[in-house]
């Protein structure tokens, strides 16, 4: 399984902090994102944002990063700390 986390406005839009996704057939983060987006219009909209950021195992990453069973992937809007 892949643990998927959502933060900030994304967490609010999706009304959840995390989901578990079966890693079978998923090679990279784009495929994971596409599979999640298939779950409905809210998912499509939230994950379709071209500002969407992603972290793989708590490191900022790109959408073409390879994922494996057991990975932690987080989607979030651009950060605004400091």
């Amino acid at each position: 399984m892949i643990k998927v986390l959502f933060f900030a406005s994304l967490r609010e839009q999706l009304e959840r902090e995390a989901v578990e996704v079966d890693a079978t057939g998923l090679t990279d983060i784009t495929q994971l994102r596409n599979r999640l987006a298939e779950q409905g219009a809210v998912w499509q909209s939230a994950l379709g944002n071209d500002q969407l950021q992603v972290a793989l195992n708590q490191q900022l990453s790109s959408m073409d990063a390879i994922i494996r069973d057991g990975d932690e992937v987080a989607f979030f809007p651009p950060v605004t700390g400091g």
């Binding site: 986390l5 900030a8 972290a55 708590q58 490191q59 987080a74 950060v79 605004t80």
Partner: protein, 159 residues
Amino acid sequence: MPLEISISVQAEGFDPGAEYQLLRSENSADGATAMFVGNVRDFSPGATGDHQSVAVLELEHYPGMAESALTDIARQAAARWPLGRVRIIHRYGPLAAGEEIVFVGTTSAHRQAALDACAFIMDFLKSRAPFWKKEIATGAEEGSWVEARSSDADALKKW
């Protein structure tokens, strides 16, 4: 002095004066200390130019990644400048107007190294550390997420 990096991601407040004392303690080889403190402003520039009073700022973070992102940024700074100590504190949770949000402190034998490293850390923290701000105006129930500014992304280009 060997490099010392100290990172805290915490809900509690902090005292910049006490942080200064820790940066200086047994560190007389470094003559330069640079510090930056970010506080919750009580006015936020609205998209339409109007100003709204901010009663509470809610800071969300990505536990685990927040600490490692700040540590990475501190290490990058220490690789570029001869630093003695680097201290970064970032708070999360609800914060009232005027409260401290972030502290960055650097020490060096050279003033420009300390100042540049402090500015570098703030610039990277703004664009790379997983924190998100939501402003809740006085009297409002719902808050609004602060939009990332392109000027913050642009700030990285100078380094």
